[in-house]
Amino acid sequence: MKRYAAERFIQMLVILFGTSFIIFFLFAMLPGDYIDSNVNLTPERAKELKALYGLDQPIWQRYVTWLGNVLSGDLGFSLKYQENVLSLLQKYVWNSFFVAFLALLVTWSAAMITGVISAVRKYSWFDGIVTFFVIASMAFPSFFISLLFIKWFGVDLKILPVGGMVDTGSTSSGFSYVLEAARHMILPVVILSMLGIGSLTRYFRSGMLDVIRQDYIRTARAKGLKERTVIWKHALKNALLPAITLLAFELPGLFSGAIIIEQIFGWPGVGRIQLESVHYRDYPVLMAFTLFLSCLTIVGNFLADIAYAAVDPRVRLK
């Protein structure tokens, strides 16, 4: 276990280093830097500012400086937001996290239920309809679904808010705040879930189809267990196993996949920060965010391994 953790850790460092390197140098290939985008600056002023921000140094040196700072725990200072990157991300990342997490929850539970049912009743009308909806939800661009839902639920039916995280000017706190935020979350979460649910449902369906054919399912039936127990206890737990590996890539994916949706719904998440960091060449933010996602991927992988071991006794630690 120790050796494993150590191996993982080294791998993680390599990956983090590699990713930061790739992103940094790709970013450097972009024409223009943060200062250049301000068309009104006189060349002298621009030069002054570049010196102030350290943008006049050669790219290598900038990378080394950046790396040094990161290693000493300093992620830098956002040029656009004039704020410490860490505190900046902290402001927004939780909002994204909540939506992403809920979406993950919804995606997985819905995919699990529909996947299992359509596997158990494969080729039934239920299976057909589920398949159809699953593909439909995958087939439309997210901005389109967002606008459609806003139109239906927000403007026409007026049952759900059009955007934001709380009602305008709301001062609610405690439980009513949670309720309010929850109402605002419904559409983004649903749409975000729709994006992922398709492939996952298919995945569960085929995983379940595999499991149902296994001998131990027949044994469970031969023991006279209720069909419910057989499917939702014996079969599902096994079908879940391979899916755990998928989970590792889901979370970072949700963070970066939510950009468009956050934008349209005015959800105060990191999506906009991320986009702006590219648009305005705010490289400390972009780099920090990239590192954050890389870490999430790696940590996700690691957690998936552990979760796998927790669920599957065959790989459990001794």
Binding site: D215, T219, A220, A222, L225, H234, K237, N238, P313
Partner: protein, 328 residues
């Protein structure tokens, strides 16, 4: 002889596949009496498992029981509702499967899997079920039964798992145990242990056993009564001693002769020529063994033979013995 416990009548199980309808079990009838061990032998794919699974109504999705009746303790199982059938499975009829490694759920402990049917059928509390499970494990000669309850299947050897499967099958004191090739995946020395155990259990609990195997040696050790199947049909059946000493059907004869036996040196082995037919290619109106039979005649290819009685319940389905043969 004691009274019949299970009577299977004209059972027919059909698989609907791309190649057409496959009669995996074709008009099979037999009876199991109380405290009797009945063995079904036959080659792979001849429908042994499907016959037993049809009794339990656990055949795979693609299959359907098209005809027949299965009377168990006076009830026709095929007419029961799903719920009622559930009460019989695991409770009155226990089942042991071929592959102990894959027949236990890898993600649950032995304890969980063993107490499940006990709680489901005997409605015991968790604690009582646990106690009973430990007793069962001790009964099937598992050492350190308490500890074993917390183990996972992959931590145990095949022989142990098969004993645990036996414990599961015994958990609700069934009247009948169906053992579908319980030792095929095991080594000979372990096989001997399991066979011993089954015999003990039968003596102790007065259960009947439906034992499925393709190993004639095992049959000779276990059976009171033997059924020989070929391509979905029963070709011969009879008490074990009769059948081994005086096989009637050419196929049975072939089987007995083809098997090398230690200490019986032969230059070449007797072989049954040809291949086992694919069930899908068979039509109803011939003896399915005709293609490979040395004695086959025109009638064998024309119509399927009826059973001829030889006394003591020994009968075979072969034109060699039918009256029509005389007519030819």
């Amino acid at each position: 002889m004691t009274k019949p416990l299970l009577e299977v009548r004209h059972l027919e199980t059909v698989f609907y596949t791309e190649e057409g309808a496959v009669k995996a079990v074709d008009d099979v009838s037999f009876t199991i009496h109380e405290e009797e061990t009945v063995c079904i032998v036959g080659e792979s794919g001849c429908g042994k498992s499907m016959a037993s699974l049809s009794i339990m109504q656990l055949i795979p999705e693609a299959g359907r029981i098209e005809r027949g009746a299965v009377h168990f303790s006076g009830r026709n199982l095929l007419k029961l509702k799903q719920k009622e059938m559930q009460k019989i499975r695991g409770c009155e009829i226990g089942m042991i499967f071929q592959e102990p490694m894959t027949s236990l759920n890898p993600v649950f402990t032995i304890g969980e899997q063993l107490t499940e049917p006990i709680r489901e059928h005997l409605l015991l509390s968790k604690k009582e079920a646990w106690r009973k499970a430990v007793e069962l494990l001790t009964l099937v000669e598992i050492p350190h039964a308490e500890q074993m309850m917390h183990r996972y299947p992959h931590e145990l050897s095949g022989g142990m798992l098969q004993r645990i499967m036996t414990a599961v099958a015994l958990s609700c004191d069934p009247k009948l145990i169906i053992a579908d090739e319980p030792t095929t995946a095991l080594d000979v020395t372990i096989q001997a242990q399991i066979l011993d155990l089954l015999r003990d259990v039968k003596k102790q609990f007065h259960t009947s056993i439906l034992f499925i195997t393709h190993d004639l040696g095992v049959v000779a050790e276990m059976a009171d009564y033997v059924i020989v199947m070929y391509a979905g049909k029963i070709v011969e059946e009879g008490p074990v001693a009769e059948l081994f000493s005086d096989p009637k059907h050419p196929y049975t004869k072939g089987l007995l002769a083809a098997k090398p036996v230690i200490g019986q040196r032969r230059e070449t082995l007797y072989t049954i020529p040809g291949q086992v037919p694919a069930l899908a290619d068979l039509s109803g109106s011939s003896c399915y063994f005709a293609e490979r039979c040395e004695h086959s005649t025109a009638i064998c290819r024309r119509s399927s033979p009826h059973f001829t009685e030889f006394g003591k319940g020994h009968q075979a389905a072969c034109w060699l013995y039918g009256e029509e043969k005389a007519d030819e």
